[in-house]
């Protein structure tokens, strides 16, 4: 028996889809960006070096916070409560788990991933190749309901990134200074904060779960604010993904000595 759009009783057509627009563009481009980020992040977290530019005080967000005795001097802004980590284990494994978990369970990335990586479906009204589908009702995809816990973690990491950003205003000769890297870090932190606060779980937690807004006027205001951000959640998700890669690549290049940071002052 044929399934899907070919099921008995439905209008029989041999073509899978009659769409004439460029519906393949979104899954191909989004899939390419996601795969590139996964590959980049995987390679980068196993490097265990070039994450801290000591003269400029730049710490890459992929390694922040650096909490083990393996961290290079100056990069541990919150001390080193963890012992030395063997070189084959990523030093930033906690950061990676939280941030990858936050993005992996994010409602926007679910759309992006299902469409581009799992073709479920690749585009609207385009048949998917899977024979069976249970969605997020069963293991393992039911785990995606843990998104809020990763949100809590991401919120803490956003605060840590803000702290790192303030330290990036350190001048080379002491005092306050600013370089191109500082600007890049500021833009990245702004995008990360927008992405984190526009999260659907955040929207639910600040007020969305309420039935009567009128009894909670302050939470209604928070919810209204987050709802405005939430309308652009997908854009923040993709922009912040790119800014994280660019920020990390820039700091890695400065830390490795491949390029010199362009100083604006001091």
């Amino acid at each position: 028996m044929k399934a899907g759009v070919g099921a008995p009783g439905r209008a029989q057509m041999s073509e899978r889809t009659f769409r004439t627009d460029r519906w393949r563009t979104y899954p191909i481009t989004t899939g390419a960006i996601l795969l590139f980020f996964i590959a980049y992040a995987t390679v980068r977290i196993f490097m265990n070096q070039w994450y801290w530019a000591p003269e400029e005080h730049y710490l890459t967000p992929l390694y922040s916070p650096c909490l083990s005795d393996s961290c290079v001097p100056g990069s541990s802004h919150f001390g080193t409560p963890l012992p030395e980590i063997p070189s084959f284990i990523p030093m930033a494994f906690i950061t990676f788990i939280i941030l990858a978990g936050f993005r992996g369970t994010c409602y926007y990335y679910r759309k992006a991933g299902y469409r581009s990586l799992f073709l479920a479906p690749a585009a609207c009204a385009v048949p998917e190749p899977h024979k069976k589908y249970t969605g997020e009702s069963k293991f393992p995809l039911v785990i995606l309901n843990s998104h809020r816990y990763f949100f809590y973690g991401a919120l803490i990491f956003a605060l840590i990134n803000i702290y790192d950003m303030v330290l990036a205003f350190h001048g080379k000769d002491g005092g306050i200074g600013m370089g191109l890297g500082t600007l890049i870090i500021v833009i990245n932190v702004a995008m990360l904060v927008c992405y984190t606060l526009s999260c659907h779980a955040c929207r639910h937690i600040v007020g969305g779960r309420l039935k009567n807004f009128s009894k909670h006027p302050l939470r209604y205001r928070y919810w209204t604010f987050v709802s405005k951000l939430n309308a652009r959640h997908g854009q923040y998700a993709m922009i912040s993904l790119v800014t994280v890669i660019l920020t990390d690549a820039y700091i890695m290049s400065v830390a490795a000595g491949w390029i010199t940071d362009l100083r604006i002052f001091n």
């Binding site: 399934a3 759009v5 209008a11 479906p121 069963k138 779960r209 309420l210």
Partner: protein, 253 residues
């Protein structure tokens, strides 16, 4: 400004059918439904099509135009080029009756499965009092014209006939959300959204939002908030503990 437009229209019934080619006059300012009507008047008097208001408010003329679920009456011919062949087919998620008419009774069955609005027992008719900010979320969902384009495009049932039994579809999950968010509704609808209406099948691909002619943010404002409420109830031990300790229920929030 008139021109001869090329059309492929699906014609047939639940046993067989196929695309037939037509060349039809197209005039400035027309919509696809005008062309279908001209086709009926000049070349195919027995062509079956369901329509009513011609204003995008009755939800009757749902079909697929160049593979996209759309309303025939709200799709302007000016969005196509003159040399483009326009393919019009019936909705591919529901059984076809004839030509462009489908049997959408699945949707009415799903509508019946949702318990209706349950106001507090101590309030009579005319005694309902609500603040605007409390009802505005539900009001967005009341814009629905029940064209069932969201149901048609949802891959959960479009590509998997077997899921129709367990999945209500975006339109009716939105109806559950509408009632759940209503300040005077006393029914607890969270657990049934997951267990009875198949909310867990939704994987947030946002196709329902993409095709909605009323521009309702079905995914962001109805389905995801319902998923978060289900997470409160079923997957979040902290919220569960808080509700137990402080004896909070959803109707008291």
């Amino acid at each position: 400004m008139s021109y001869k437009g090329n059309f492929k229209i699906w014609r047939g019934d639940d046993e067989s059918g196929g695309l037939e080619d037509f060349i039809v006059e197209v005039n400035e300012g027309e919509v696809v439904l005008d062309i279908i009507h001209r086709l009926q008047a000049t070349q195919a008097p027995d062509l079956a099509v369901r329509w009513n208001c011609k204003a995008g408010k009755c939800g009757s003329c749902s079909a697929e135009i160049n593979g996209k679920p759309r309303l025939l009456c709200m799709t302007r011919m000016s969005v196509f080029t003159e040399d483009e062949t326009i393919t019009v087919t019936p909705l591919r998620t529901f059984p076809v009756v004839r030509d462009l008419v489908t049997d959408v009774s699945y949707n009415y069955q799903k509508a019946r499965e949702i318990p209706s609005f349950a106001p507090p027992k101590n309030l009579g008719l005319g005694e309902y009092r609500m603040k605007q900010q409390d009802v505005e979320r539900s009001q967005e969902f009341r814009k629905c014209i029940e064209c069932f384009l969201c149901q048609d495009t949802c891959h959960v049932i479009r590509d998997h006939e077997e899921n129709k039994e367990n999945f209500a579809g975006p339109r009716f999950l939105m109806r559950v959300a509408e009632l759940e968010m209503h300040p005077l509704d006393t029914e607890d609808r969270v657990r049934e959204a997951q267990d009875e209406h198949g909310l867990g099948y939704c994987n947030i691909t946002k196709c329902c939002t993409e095709v909605c002619p009323e521009h309702i943010k079905i995914t962001d404002n109805a389905l995801i908030p319902m998923k978060e409420r289900v997470a409160d109830r079923k997957y979040d031990p902290i919220v569960w503990l808080g509700n137990q300790l402080f004896r909070r229920g959803s109707h008291k929030r």
